[in-house]
């Protein structure tokens, strides 16, 4: 009897340890990644060649003018101090000042965020419906498989900016169904404006997701445990749902998640191709103009989104695959 409580406390201790490990994996790890990435970005931009002060003051400023401006912008302080200032400001929503737009970075980003978010979400839905759907079709129906392989093999090779031109030339210029540029206003109008950009953005990724989905299903279908299920007299739909699709869901979820993260990067190109005023166009303009505070804010924001997405994939992965759960050792 005496051993019972100690056994219980050991078990709860083990539970706490497992919970701690989970917390470290899904909270601390990603947070550290974001902090490290933001510091590297900040330091790299601070050390980049080229002087923003010269841009700001125009030709032939006096030495005193330069010194005053440098001080005002905080450029005379060390890299870690500047990072710390930026970070403490960023936590409170202050992302610094754009020397090109002469406005706070937060006000620049705010209205543009919606366009990019809507574009990525739209493309994400297209990928899940079109990419995963096509992949399941190609994996489940043997006769469709070569066709799906051919479609995805071509789709994967079409860059978003080439897809954009093709779509514009056919659906805007020839058929006149969708506008060639602009983001629109109001939800319905915006969706209408974003349809071609979302398709352009989704094509290559959807093809990639479809390819992975198709091979995942075909691989799973050849596994021994699927044969066992068939040997037990289960109907084909039951075998497909309970075994093939269920197990293929693990790589499918991973690749779908990664594709959402990749979409965020590719959206820069599509926004530029369609002249959408989103984060991507702002980023490209700021890179060209060396507007470093804007570049820093946007890239760190994208890294943040990106880390959140990959962490979510990790969580989902663990939910789908019992072998990855901690505390599930052999007993």
């Amino acid at each position: 009897m005496a051993s019972a409580p100690s056994h219980g406390s050991r078990a709860s201790h083990r539970g706490a340890l497992a919970a701690g490990r989970t917390l470290a994996r899904w909270l601390v790890g990603p947070l550290v990644t974001v902090l490290v990435a933001s510091f590297v970005i900040s330091a790299a931009l601070a050390l980049a060649p080229g002087d923003p002060v010269a841009q700001l003051l125009g030709p032939r400023p006096t030495a005193a003018q330069i010194a005053v401006t440098r001080h005002e912008l905080g450029l005379d302080r060390s890299v870690p101090v500047r990072y710390w200032d930026w970070l403490s400001g960023a936590v409170h929503g202050d992302l610094g000042f754009s020397i090109v737009h002469r406005d706070s970075v937060a006000t620049l980003i705010g209205p543009r965020l919606g366009t990019t978010a809507l574009l990525v979400a739209y493309a994400g839905v297209l990928i899940l419906v079109g990419g995963v759907g096509l992949g399941i079709l190609g994996g489940a129906l043997r006769r469709m498989s070569p066709l799906v392989a051919a479609i995805t093999g071509l789709g994967i090779a079409i860059p978003a900016f080439v897809a954009a031109q093709l779509l514009v030339s056919v659906f805007s210029l020839r058929l006149g169904w969708f506008p060639a540029t602009g983001a629109g206003s109001g939800l319905a109008d915006r969706l209408w404006h974003l349809t071609l950009p979302a398709i352009a953005l989704a094509v290559a990724w959807a093809a990639y997701v479809a390819q992975i989905t198709r091979t995942a299903i075909r691989d799973e279908d050849e596994r021994e445990h699927v044969e066992t299920a068939r040997a037990r007299g289960l109907t084909a739909p039951v075998v497909f749902r309970r075994h093939v699709l269920r197990n293929a869901a693990i790589p499918i979820v991973t690749i779908s998640g990664l594709s959402i993260a990749g979409l965020i990067a590719s959206s820069v190109v599509v926004e530029s191709a369609f002249g959408l005023g989103g984060l991507g166009t702002l980023l490209v303009d700021s890179v060209t103009a060396r507007d470093y505070n804007v570049v820093q804010a946007i890239t760190v924001a994208l890294v943040l989104v990106f880390v959140v997405v990959t962490t979510l994939i990790d969580v989902l992965h663990t939910m789908l695959d019992p072998r990855l759960r901690r505390g599930a050792e052999r007993a």
Binding site: R223, E224, H225, V226, E227, T228, A229, R230, A231, R232, G233, L234, T235, V238, R242, H243, R246, N247, I250, L320, D321, P322, R323, A328, E329, R330, A331
Partner: protein
């Protein structure tokens, strides 16, 4: 041979070709075999002799593009001609299969409970509660006492021996008339092999289920079955009573196999069969064993011997009568 008027399972001149890179390749030449109700038959042979393909043909689980000639009859009905619905019922309730590697044959992301219950619930249509009750009782009888906990666990949390017991329980749960056991202990630790084999043998006998036991281990097969069928290169070389095959072997290949067993009592150089085992698609028109047989004649190379009755054996050898008694069995004699 079999006393029962209608055998439970009948393989009749079975021939199987598999599609390998678009071309058909013969893996089974001619397999005829009968199993009575409740009878256990061992199907013995080297890897690639066609044992597993025979079992898969019985289940109609051959890979796409395979071609089958001859017939498989279960309870007098041709399995090869069953419609989709009848085939499912046959697989769900008549025959159960036990595999070599239980870890590969259980879905790693589904619980043991899911695995055990999906047969009765999804294929047969039993209620979940009834099936759970039956499963728990069966797990206990195959030596898994804490069944309710095991039902919630995943395959990676169980040892290979436990998993194979789960597979045996799943096979028995369907209350089949025939179990196909394809090397059920080969992938297990030596210590658990005997336990698992004993459980399978015991449960099968208790329930009167017939078994086709596929193995490369002659002694093991002899211990748990009534008759042995020895396969070589996609054909049945000999069928005979399991109990005294080591004394009564009529086929030179059987004799060679028996001589090649290591002795547990004497340390000596093993006798081996000369040459290498040939695959079914490599053999010529004659006897499949002709290239390695010590007693080969011209006739053996030209004409394939049919499986025929001789005493209480079936043997596929032209010279079986002449060679009777001349097939020295040194290893067996030494035991």
């Amino acid at each position: 041979m079999t006393p029962a008027p209608t055998p439970l399972l009948e393989l009749d001149g079975l021939r199987v070709d598999l599609r390998v890179d678009g071309a058909l390749r013969r893996v089974i030449h001619d397999v005829s075999l009968r199993l009575g109700v409740g009878e256990a038959v061992g199907l013995v042979g080297e890897s690639g002799s066609g044992k597993s393909i025979t079992a898969r043909t019985i289940m109609r689980l051959l890979p796409r593009g395979a071609e089958v000639a001859g017939d498989v009859r279960f309870g007098g009905r041709s399995v090869l001609e069953l419609g989709a619905r009848d085939l499912r019922r046959y697989r769900a309730t008549d025959v159960a299969m036990i595999y070599q590697d239980p870890r590969a044959h259980l879905n790693p992301v589904r619980t043991i409970g899911d695995f055990l219950l999906e047969g009765p619930v999804h294929a047969v249509g039993a209620s979940r509660a009834d099936a759970t009750e039956a499963a728990v009782a069966l797990l206990r009888s195959v030596g898994i006492p804490d069944a309710p906990r095991r039902l919630r666990q995943y395959p990676h949390q169980l040892s290979g021996g436990l998993l194979q017991r789960v597979v045996i329980a799943a096979a028995l749960l369907a209350e089949p008339q025939l179990i196909l056991a394809d090397e059920p202990t080969t992938a297990l630790d030596v210590t658990t092999q005997e336990e698992v084999m004993a459980i399978l043998d015991d449960q099968r006998r208790k329930r009167g289920v017939a078994m086709l036991f596929i193995t490369h281990d002659l002694d093991l097969a002899a211990a748990v079955t009534d008759r042995l069928a020895v396969m070589y290169a996609g054909t049945v070389a000999e069928v005979g009573p399991a109990a005294d095959l080591h004394r009564t072997a009529l086929h030179p290949y059987t004799a060679g196999l028996l001589a090649a067993r290591p002795s547990t009592t004497r340390v000596e150089r093993l006798t081996t069969i000369p040459g290498r085992p040939v695959s079914a698609f490599e053999v010529g028109p004659g006897c499949v064993f002709a290239s390695r047989c010590a007693h080969v004649e011209d006739r053996c190379r030209a004409e394939r011997p049919a499986l025929r009755a001789l005493e209480d054996h079936m043997v596929a050898c032209h010279r079986a009568e002449e060679l009777r008694g001349a097939l020295g069995l040194p290893a067996a004699a030494a035991r």
